[in-house]
């Protein structure tokens, strides 16, 4: 029923129900190459659930998720990641007992099997890549620091860096600027516009100023369904969106 497409991500008729409650209801969502898409919506709209479904954390009840024309719903979580999908969690999810450098090293996409990891060597190439990514995420001076000591915003960046080092073709970020200062938000906006070159990025965010800064296209979710989709201006002026989300 579904044909081959040019989209990086094509979600069709996606449904998941928890004990009869449909958290995501017949969702269709297409993301282009090099696109930065932001998904917004009130609490409980199903935003995080959509990410959970794409990355395999939650299994769908129905529908298909195709990433570069490859069906993801039947794959295990690590296979989805290896296919090229990276996901950042809502609360910064980093390894607090490791240094910043080690966090990035562990995320480097080589030596992913048991024996591969036993024989993995941190070569110059790996080292260069780690330093380059650390520079991207404004943490080049903190490489040796235990990551538990980073500020909240730096932890968010580090997690983004841990995904960047894997060079995913689809990057999904769940509230990347939550808990960040104004300056950090600006830096993050700049970071996101920089890293969406050559890949697609899917962001969930509440901060409308931030969304305005980065979004190519905005999707508004409400009760598991799409309420509106389009560029920021269209969405902001949509009466339905104003009614349920933005307020008068």
């Amino acid at each position: 029923m579904m044909t081959s497409t040019d989209f990086t991500l094509a979600i069709e008729d996606l449904t998941v129900s928890f004990d009869g409650f449909k958290a995501v209801d017949n969702l269709n969502l297409y993301i282009d190459k090099n696109e930065l898409r932001v998904v917004i919506g009130p609490n409980g709209a199903g935003k995080t659930t959509v990410l959970d479904l794409i990355c395999g954390k939650t299994k769908s009840s129905n529908g298909s998720i195709k990433f570069k024309n490859r069906e993801l719903t039947s794959l295990a979580e690590h296979e989805i990641v290896q296919a090229g999908v990276g996901r950042k969690f809502q609360t910064p999810s980093i390894y607090e007992n490791l240094s910043v450098y080690e966090n990035l090293e562990v995320s480097f996409p080589r030596g992913r099997s048991v024996f591969g990891s036993l024989t993995f060597k941190c070569t110059d190439e790996v080292d260069r890549r780690i330093r380059a990514v650390a520079k991207d995420i404004f943490l080049e001076d903190f490489l040796d620091m235990e990551s538990a000591l980073l500020s909240h915003g730096q932890k968010q960046w580090l997690e983004i860096g841990m995904l960047l080092i894997q060079d995913p073709e689809l990057l999904m970020l769940d509230e990347p600027v939550a808990g960040m200062s104004v300056k950090e938000r600006e830096q993050t906006a700049e970071l996101l516009t920089r890293i969406c070159k050559g890949r697609s990025v899917l962001v969930i965010e509440h901060d409308m100023d931030f969304v305005e800064k980065i979004a190519h296209k905005v999707t508004v979710l409400h009760q598991g369904k799409i309420l509106a989709e389009g560029n920021m201006e269209t969405v902001q002026n949509d009466p339905n969106v104003i009614e349920v989300y933005l307020g008068h």
Partner: protein
């Protein structure tokens, strides 16, 4: 060379720690203890294998197994089966109704050797079995649990139940296993009498060298990316999974490795103590092994060896001096350590060892300052004299 120094010896600090431990185990204890006590130390050091295995599994992997005694016991039983068969030759068992089979089988009206005992006539097979049987068993348990994402306290309870089941099985199948008494009266290994004084010395040193080899092997694993992944998994399992790793495979591997290490300890236990019984398999020894690791410091391969020695000496001293209340004293020791030194002896050393080193450095600084002041005064005095 760098690989050896940095990773296996653990740099300067790691090397000093290893050297001190090696001096203690290989030189000081053999020179200062009589054979009876040394043999006791040798026995304790076999438990240290289990404690080291718990550093990998529990300390780094965050997987608490309350069933390491199962693997210790399996290793010990494999070795005991070989030694028992050698001790049961037709000549020395000619008074039995069926000569040539182990005595307890004869007492239980068995008339031929059970099929699964046959391969243990071969020492080569036995050596392999000591390593492989516990690993395969751990693989089956690990595969069925970790693939289903059973973990944490459920895993601990299940491993504890497995320890109980295995004990019940061994005790119940007396004719095949020797029952509650275990497999006793072991004498020779390829004709070499393991009960003599010289054999006890040799076995002590073999055991010690094997223990150091296991520590090196564990160092290699823990300093690789695998080790960092274990720590990462302990902290944020989902993040590891969503970074493209099949987390269950890593857990299965470390569980099998820890089983194998414990089993080597068990085999050495049988050789040094001269028998194996279900009382080293069940819940109590398994929990004791966790106590050894906790007291020694579950993140430290060296620390747990001290922990094992200390707790076992404590056990011996307490039980000899206060036969009525020694178990309470042991319990008190465990609670005290967990409450006040959560990182065990190793944590204590890191904290105060640092101060100790700092103290020495400070003294050096002071002497530099003093020399400086003295020189300054001397210059002043000289200037005034001019």
């Amino acid at each position: 060379m760098n690989f050896m120094y940095e990773r296996l010896l653990g740099g300067k600090n790691g090397m000093i720690g290893l050297a001190i431990l090696a001096a203690l185990i290989l030189i000081m204890l053999p020179l200062s203890l009589d054979l009876f006590r040394l043999n006791l130390v040798g026995k304790y050091l076999t438990y240290a294998f289990a404690a080291v295995s718990l550093v990998l599994l529990w300390g780094y992997g965050g997987i608490l197994s309350l069933g390491q005694g199962v693997f210790f016991g399996l290793g010990g039983y494999c070795m005991a089966m070989f030694l028992k068969l050698e001790a049961s030759d037709p000549v020395s068992t000619k008074i039995q109704s069926t000569p040539g089979i182990p005595d307890f089988m004869d007492w239980n009206q068995l008339t031929e050797l059970p099929w699964f005992w046959e391969p243990f006539n071969s020492f080569g097979f036995t050596t392999l079995a000591v390593i492989l049987i516990p690993s395969v068993f751990a693989f089956i348990i690990g595969y069925s649990m970790f693939k289903r994402r059973v973990g944490g306290v459920y895993f601990a309870i299940i491993t504890q139940i497995i320890a109980l089941i295995l004990t019940v099985l061994i005790v119940g199948q007396q004719g095949y296993t020797g029952g509650i008494n275990g497999i006793t009266d072991l004498r020779t290994l390829h004709g070499w009498d393991i009960r003599t004084d010289s054999a006890k010395y040799i076995l002590y040193f073999i055991n010690a060298i094997l223990l150091f080899s296991v520590i090196f092997l564990s160092r290699f694993v823990l300093t690789s990316k695998f080790g960092r992944l274990l720590l990462a998994m302990k902290d944020k399992e989902d993040r590891v999974r969503f970074s493209g790793y099949d987390v269950s495979n890593f857990k299965i591997f470390v569980f099998c490795l820890s089983a194998m290490i414990s089993a080597i300890g068990g085999a050495m236990f049988t050789l040094q103590v001269g028998f194996m019984s279900p009382s080293f398999v069940g819940i109590v020894p398994s929990i004791e092994m966790v106590i050894f690791a906790a007291v020694g410091g579950r993140m430290s391969l060296i620390g747990v060896v001290y922990g094992t020695l200390l707790v076992n000496f404590g056990k011996t001293i307490f039980s000899e001096t206060f036969p009525e209340i020694w178990l309470f004293l042991m319990g008190g020791l465990f609670i005290g350590v967990v409450m006040y030194f959560p990182n065990g002896l190793a944590g204590l050393w890191e904290k105060h060892g640092y101060k100790f080193v700092g103290c020495i450095k400070k003294m050096q600084c002071l002497s530099v300052v003093r020399t400086f002041l003295v020189n300054k005064r001397a210059i002043k005095v000289a200037a005034q004299n001019d």
